[in-house]
């Protein structure tokens, strides 16, 4: 095949990083071709080198990174090209959008100016002349009222809108190739669908090729023409969509495809007693107000929600960011000031203050989303998971605590030797297991899981869900499972609550909600999540 026919041809590309612990080979000599107008998905889990490949080609590696090999844009070698030459290509012929819409734009300049910048620098026009084109682009990417929004700053826009601004910037010079690095990962599902639709439509209109870097096979199936699967810096499989999804050759590819969480949970028996109840839960946050002035406004984050959790039940709470789902979880555990009536077992805990709640904390546990931030980096795993025991069961001897730690680590599928190591020595999935061990070691009755799988790769997600299910069965745990991820909710819970703007819009048994949603918002949510798959 004539290599010049490709927009991008990559041969033997390697990326290395120099670190204090020696060289890390992030990409180990890969080949790629991108044809004009096609969409190539580069799929892999974290650490597969998919992003670093593109960063290497675009000259965007961190200071300790090194790229070797060949990457040709329409026959022109990009690797080793002096900055001046590289800058003729990037931003004009090849453009990029990134995962982080919140931070990828400069907070100090209007979005109009930022979209204009690549036009000004590549076309040699003035900012004034570029303005017409900027307005046109804003209209194109569906920003309402562009005449006004052109003067907005990034912090005045939502995540979805910022990603639209990035896309406008990417299209400004009519590129041949758009590299989209996890463009929707940080966005809510409904927004995710809108952004992907927009990209697809714009591609149809302008005919540029797209390289989509993602960990999410769900969006690949409907969006890409061809797929390259990467693992540990190497390409393990490549092919068109049909080949990859219908007849994957490699176990790893199959694992990625199957990794979408599956299974369902049987509801508990009708006679199962209610273990945790919150009636008319409401939480207000104060906005504004300074040291001397009272808060000017109250923001109602949770607005009169009632939740009844039965023993052995898993209630899934779904909602997009800002829906109040995490706040509700904390309110149910009485971790923040809230109004409403609360019962734990047969005890009325509505008026319990912090010290009154303390003895109950053992039975009401919380697992967080961020497995990196929620474990103290200066404690060993053993100290982390036994800390609760020291408070709630102070009569235990050191040896007994250690025994419990070993049992808990075994239970979550970790080597008991882990208790003498520090959190940074573990992967994200392992850390989440440590966080779960910290909760189950206390033998709790209720565990609130706040996005426990959201920061994890799909394959690891599946394992964590499996673990949580096993633990539930074994110990008769009741879960409240908070997530924005409908696939995970479906696999985990027997009852679903859909939240929006602090209110419940719909609730019911998982099957009913997923098969026959009634509320329009629920329907949009379902469509956005599952039409992609």
């Amino acid at each position: 095949m004539d290599m010049r026919a490709n927009v991008l041809s990559v041969r033997g590309l390697k990326v290395d990083f120099t670190t204090p612990d020696g060289d890390v080979k992030a990409v180990k000599g890969i080949d790629l071709d991108v044809k004009p107008g096609e969409t190539l998905a580069v799929v892999g889990e974290s650490g597969s080198g998919k992003s670093q490949t593109m960063m290497g080609i675009m000259g965007l590696l961190a200071n300790n990174g090194r790229v070797t090999g060949s990457a040709k844009y329409r026959g022109r070698e990009l690797i080793g090209l002096p900055l001046k030459g590289l800058n003729e290509v990037r931003g004009a012929k090849i453009t990029m959008i990134f995962q982080e819409p919140m931070t990828s734009l400069d907070p100090l300049y209007t979005i109009g100016r930022q979209i204009a910048e690549p036009i000004v620098h590549h076309k040699g026009v003035s900012f004034k002349q570029a303005k017409v084109r900027v307005l046109e682009l804003l209209k194109l990417v569906g920003i309402p009222d562009p005449e006004r929004r052109i003067n907005s700053y990034p912090h005045e826009m939502s995540g979805g809108q910022r990603q639209r601004v990035m896309i406008a910037m990417a299209l400004a010079n009519e590129p041949d190739l758009l590299i989209a690095d996890e463009p929707t990962t940080a966005l809510d599902v409904t927004i995710q669908a809108q952004i992907l639709d927009l990209l697809r439509e714009l591609q149809k209109r302008f005919g540029m090729a797209i390289v989509l870097i993602t960990h999410d096979l769900g969006i690949v199936k409907h969006f890409a023409d061809r797929v390259v699967v990467m693992r540990r810096g190497e390409v393990v499989e490549r092919g068109n969509i049909e080949q990859i999804f219908e007849h994957p050759k490699e176990d790893y590819t199959r694992m990625l495809i199957d990794a979408v969480p599956s299974g369902a949970k049987e509801p508990p028996e009708d006679s199962a007693p209610i273990i945790l109840e919150g009636r008319n839960v409401a939480v207000d946050f104060a906005i504004g107000g300074g040291f001397f002035t009272r808060a000017t406004k109250l923001f109602r984050a949770v607005d009169g929600v009632t939740v009844r959790l039965k023993r052995g039940q898993t209630i899934g709470i779904v909602g997009e960011s800002g829906s109040g789902k995490s706040t509700l979880g904390r309110a149910l555990l009485r971790l923040l000031p809230s109004s409403g009536h609360y019962h734990f077992g047969d005890r009325n805990i509505s008026n319990f203050d912090r010290s009154a709640m303390r003895p109950l904390r053992k039975e009401l546990q919380l697992v967080f989303q961020d497995p990196y931030g929620s474990l103290s980096p200066r404690q060993t795993v053993g100290e982390i998971i036994t800390e609760g025991l020291r408070i709630h069961e102070p009569q235990l001897s050191r040896a007994e605590r250690d025994k419990r730690a070993i049992a808990a680590l075994k239970e979550v599928g970790l080597d008991p030797a882990a208790r003498n190591r520090y959190p940074h020595e573990f992967s994200g999935g392992q850390r989440q297991r440590i966080a779960i061990a910290r909760a189950v070691i206390l033998k709790p009755k209720v565990v609130i899981l706040d996005e426990p799988t959201s920061a994890l790769d799909r394959s690891v997600q599946g394992q964590v869900i499996e673990l949580l299910r096993d633990l539930q069965e074994k110990h008769g745990l009741s879960y409240i499972f908070i997530s924005h991820d409908l696939a995970v909710i479906k696999a985990m819970s027997d009852y679903v609550i859909v939240m929006k703007n602090g209110k419940i819009v719909e609730e019911g048994e998982t099957e009913d909600i997923f098969d026959t949603p009634h509320d329009t918002y629920t329907k949009t949510l379902m469509a956005a999540a599952f039409d992609l798959e």
Partner: protein
């Protein structure tokens, strides 16, 4: 914006009131008084002096009297520099201090930001190391060492510049005191700039700017530096207030007739009105520069804009 400035100026009134009150009473609680000289005055003379300056009245009366006069801009006579009012003393000295201080401020700001940026762009290189070592020296070596060394080298040994005095106010007289005054602040600006530039150069939006092929000049100056200057700007207010109201040490070494020495002389001699005058002066400078810096901050960063 207009409302913001008005509000801030209004809030300056209670601040000044608290400053005046605290320093008035603190000063009075310090042992000794303006007329307690090494050789005690005869009791009759002392009594007359106390009466003349109303120091024989109850403290509360003196305080209220001082407040009343201060509101009308009358800060009273100096106890030590007889025949001079505080307003006259400050009015005479302040132009010298402000002139010297402004040059020192400009040198510190632009010099510090410039070398800080260079160090950040060449992070961990020999140049970076060198600049930061010099900056550390700048912060740690006090200006009563820097001043005499400068004088020794440039005035005594090389005879290039005058050793002190104001002369006709030409740059030749300004250069050495300006450097002595600016050096520690320049070092602080350099360190601040380097730190925030290094952070700024690693942000996602700098990656965006590079990914879109913007020239290095635009990436560094337009995008990285504007954000990196925010902490520098915050430091500008206390720094400007300190430099423009004069430095007792530098003004003494280079015999410059500014207001800096009044702090020390006033405090040592228990010249109550002089101390109060200088305290109010510094307070006003701090308040004004904080306001200016907040406005500047708003211009640089739209997220904290006051409208």
């Amino acid at each position: 914006m207009f409302h913001f400035v008005l509000r801030r100026l209004a809030s300056a009134v209670p601040t000044l009131f608290i400053v005046v009150t605290l320093s008035f009473f603190l000063m009075r609680f310090a042992p000794g008084g303006p007329f307690n000289l090494e050789r005690p005055l005869p009791p009759a003379t002392m009594e007359n002096l106390m009466k003349a300056y109303h120091l024989d009245q109850p403290l509360w009366n003196q305080y209220l009297q001082y407040l009343k006069n201060a509101v009308t801009g009358d800060f009273g006579p100096s106890y030590i520099y007889k025949d001079n009012t505080i307003a006259e003393l400050i009015g005479k000295g302040l132009p010298y201090s402000i002139t010297l201080g402004s040059y020192a401020l400009l040198l510190a700001l632009f010099g510090g930001v410039f070398i800080g940026t260079i160090a950040a762009l060449r992070q961990n290189s020999f140049l970076d190391f060198l600049i930061m070592s010099i900056a550390t020296v700048g912060v740690t070596v006090p200006n009563f060492v820097v001043g005499p060394v400068l004088t020794l080298v440039f005035a005594v040994l090389l005879s290039l510049l005058p050793a002190g005095g104001w002369g006709d106010g030409s740059w030749r007289f300004l250069i050495l005191p300006m450097i002595a005054l600016a050096l520690p602040q320049l070092a602080v600006f350099a360190r601040l700039t380097r730190g925030s530039m290094i952070e700024g150069l690693h942000t996602d939006h700098i990656r965006t700017a590079r990914a879109y092929g913007l020239p290095p000049r635009v990436v560094v100056i337009t995008h990285a530096m504007r954000g990196a200057l925010l902490p520098v700007v915050s430091y500008l207010a206390p720094c400007a207030a300190a430099l423009l109201t004069g430095s007792a040490v530098v003004e003494s070494i280079f015999t410059i007739p500014g207001v800096g020495r009044y702090f020390v002389l006033g405090a040592i001699n228990r010249d109550y009105t002089l101390v109060m005058g200088t305290v109010v002066l510094v307070a006003i400078f701090v308040i004004v520069f904080n306001l200016l810096v907040d406005i500047l901050y708003g211009l640089l960063d739209p997220r904290v804009r006051h409208d």
